[in-house]
Symmetry: none
Subunit: 247 residues, 2 copies
């Protein structure tokens, strides 16, 4: 059974963010992933228009509901589980976990607990003082050349992992539709072989050489029943054409 | 053994993006995940300062190397494997795969092939015409309430999944051999279309209807260069035959 995150128990907590545009992008990302609550700590007065330009009007409701706090202790007081984020693998700060591992825990913990996903300022990230408040600290894997992510990208990755963990990861994949039966396939191969022999494409001494290559890629594509129908239709037409050419 | 993506074989291809800011954010996201190549198709003249404000100076080198093309066929011609992205699960467009499933394939295929990650314009996304060029189409799982992601967020998620797959995936499958380039495939489709029109198989009023079905299963099988050669040889022979039949 797939357990879904209780997203109403999850909030994004931004500690001293600097740019209204980032807050707008975060509102959009959060809503894309089913999370509707944002808390901002230590600053306020962001330009509404700038925020909404990035959130789009479809996430404007998330902006309307932003809660502002002056102090981090007040903001986090009501939460049961706090997940911090950091790009830096400094000393004495762990244990660090990946967004994927954190997401699995969060889905589970959210069933009965209020969870804060805590992000620091764009330039410096969370300091040890804030990280100390966290039950777990997530680091997003990144290239050594440039580990600092845009704040809204970091939020998106964590929210995406939570959403994916909730949906069991495979939910967007289409269920495999009806594949052709073996006898349909063999009928098709027979028809192709006859056609190719007709037009002199196959070497009579080793007719299966090219057929083997054709079989190989047809097998790889796992043909559907209706696709076999189309191919056989084409072969029929080609064969008819080979025998009744008007000149 | 962990197989790492050959990121130098991976490019982000933006089809008609609208906003310089998004391009900057994408450059940053790409570099965070170790990808350095961006191609822009169908537009140019974006404000450099606006791009760099979002890329930060640490990803300015990615902006410097952006390649511009007028037409999508030119831009994609040299790639062996094209991954499209779409938010819409429209009809007749699949198979759709998740970013995670795509990332696993991409890590493998990138060992010997050039891969394009293709993204459409911010407002409309990729149209069927562009999706037709793709070997696989990724949809990013999102909340039903609001499925449309910011373009740079979509790019980040796919790049993040590739980066994560590189650092954790274990190799079980055979390394994917050299696939046909997009221009070889398009040449083959053109030849098939001419042949089928010749023999009266295609409806002149909607010649692309059957071609779309053919493209779909050919894409699924990720044709090798030499297989495209075989198919084109068969078409040549069939066409010759159609025109020079001995009776």
């Amino acid at each position: 059974m797939v357990l879904k995150a209780k997203t109403k128990n999850i909030s994004i907590v931004l500690y001293k963010p600097k740019y209204a545009g980032n807050i707008g992008s975060i509102a959009r990302a959060a809503k894309n992933m089913g999370i509707g609550s944002i808390i901002i700590v230590g600053c306020s007065g962001f330009d509404r228009e700038e925020m909404q330009q990035r959130s789009t009007h479809l996430a404007a409701d998330v902006l309307d509901k932003i809660q502002y706090f002056e102090r981090i202790n007040e903001a986090l007081g009501g939460f049961n589980y706090i997940v911090g984020t950091t790009a830096r693998l400094g000393k004495a700060r762990g244990p660090f976990i990946s967004p994927r591992a954190a997401a699995g825990d969060i889905v589970n913990i959210s069933q009965k607990n209020k969870i804060a996903l805590l992000f620091g300022p764009e330039d410096t990230g969370l300091a040890n003082e804030e990280l100390r408040l966290c039950h777990a600290v997530v680091t997003i894997p990144a290239s050594r050349e440039f580990t600092s992510l845009n704040l809204s990208h970091a939020v998106m990755i964590l929210c995406y992992e939570i959403f994916t963990a909730s949906s069991g990861a495979t939910i967007t994949e289409e269920v495999t539709p009806k594949l052709a039966r073996s006898q349909e396939l063999e009928g098709m191969y027979g028809q192709i072989k006859t056609l190719l022999a007709d037009i002199g494409f196959l070497n009579p001494e080793n007719p299966d050489y090219w057929m083997m290559h054709l079989r190989r890629f047809f097998s790889r594509s796992s043909l559907l029943s209706r696709e076999v129908g189309i191919i056989r239709g084409i072969c029929r037409q080609l064969t008819w054409n080979a025998h009744h050419k008007k000149t």
